[in-house]
Amino acid sequence: MAQHLLAEQNVMSNKRRQRRCLVVACGALAKEIVALRSQLALARSGSVSGPGALGSGEEVMTLQCLPAGFHNTPGKIAPAVEEILRDCAHEFDSVFVAYGECGTGGALDDVLKRYGASRMTGAHCYEFYAGGDLYEQIIEEQIGSFFLTDYLVKNFDRLIITGLGLDRFPHLRDDYFGNYTQLVYLSQTKDAALLQKAFGAADRLGLELRHIHVGYGGLASELEAVTKAVAKAAPGKIAPSPQSIEQLHVRG
């Protein structure tokens, strides 16, 4: 029993030494965020030491993802984000939500306001990957632009074809895509196989493909800003969660 208590206390004191942020993200960004987290940690590990230093990345940034399928049902995003924030936001020094507005009609921003959290700038992941100016330019040139990212290309069949019921009702294609004129593939990585798949996706939707390699765009810069802010902040302020205190009392 006493050892349990000691272990808990060690965890708590570790938490006090290391400031941490929680990133709640759309599952469509998980792979990219993990890659960026490692890059950020590697870039900083040699130059920063002491409290607040970035190690492998996980010590500083905890990633929690929601199903990427919410892309098709944006009404589910805000309640799901709120559930996570309610459960564990108090365990972190800062919370960042890696979603755009994503069609939540202001509901996501209302949740973030309640928890003092922030999110990606922009309406959708395509906008923050491309950057506001390029995104505006694409829309300005062709309003009927349908966007795909690496994740959406990889999961095109599941999210677009099956998600919209086109596997069962292929004749609905023009109901969904009749007003679109081009498919814009905003790639994060340079992958010939994915590009080939994007051509196939465009063909299935009856659209022209336009490929623009944008990399991680605003996702990289915003995550870097979040981790910098966590690293720079004064250490040792984290209060144990009410739940943790309760557990310690019970075990003691």
């Binding site: 069609g103 939540t104 009609g105 202001g106 309003i143 086109l166 069962r168 109901d175 007003n179 679109y180």
Partner: protein, 228 residues
């Protein structure tokens, strides 16, 4: 299903046939709905009655189940396709009918910057089913298009649709312009679209918010005083 289980629509009495048509519409069976409409017309049913009792009522049930998360967009589109096929048969008859009475004129369009029209088209269909003369402006409409249509058609209601959070504020721009020109006092404005809610509709001073296609048609009837 074996041949023995197959339902012969012609063998059903009127009440059972109408119920079966609602089921077929729910299942998105366009050919069966079309056949049902044909049979009812052959039996001397008024086209208005076929429309309201079988098709509109069927779509109302679809709308409720969509709202409750039982049906999803692909299924609703299938149902809409079935209703469209049935309406294709009724439309020319209704247009020539001496008993035809328009509920009112409804101008509808998706706002500037937005090319999504699935919801708008469903609303338009339900409005037509409710007896409205629908003037559909299509997609990506700047305020000028709405003003021109109001001037030309003198509608009883104006409807605006948006799917994107980035485009829905434009509804407020249109309403503000209508207000400036003194049109808003006379013309009710309905708004709808997936990211909208009543709070937003109130904030932009819209007359009413249509949560779904069936409800929008009911609200529109209320706005023109035809739902009492």
């Amino acid at each position: 299903m074996s041949d023995e289980d197959e339902i012969i629509l012609k063998d059903l009495n009127d009440a059972d046939l109408v119920d079966q048509m609602k089921d077929d519409l729910y299942d998105g069976l366009a050919d069966e709905v079309f056949e049902g409409v044909e049979i009812l017309l052959e039996r001397g049913w008024d086209a208005n009655l076929v429309l309201s009792d079988a098709l509109v009522e069927g779509m109302r049930i679809v709308g409720v189940d969509f709202r409750d998360g039982i049906l999803f967009v692909p299924e609703v589109l299938q149902c809409a396709g079935a209703m469209k096929k049935g309406m294709g048969l009724l439309r020319p008859i209704l247009a020539q009918s001496s008993t035809k009475s328009s509920t009112g004129k409804f101008v509808i369009g998706t706002v500037k910057g937005d090319i999504h029209d699935i919801g708008k088209n469903l609303v338009g269909m339900m409005l037509e089913g409710a007896g409205f003369e629908v003037i559909d402006l299509g997609i990506n409409n700047p305020v000028e298009n709405y003003l021109e249509a109001i001037d030309k058609h003198r509608p009883n209601v104006l409807g605006m649709s948006a799917l994107l959070t980035t485009t829905m504020p434009y509804m407020g721009v249109v309403i503000e312009e209508l207000d400036k020109r003194g049109i808003l006092k006379e013309l009710p404005v309905m708004v709808g679209g997936a990211p909208l809610n009543q709070e937003f509709a109130d904030a932009i001073n819209a007359t009413s918010y249509g949560r779904d296609a069936a409800m929008s048609a009911e609200l529109a009837k209320t706005l023109v005083g035809k739902n009492m």
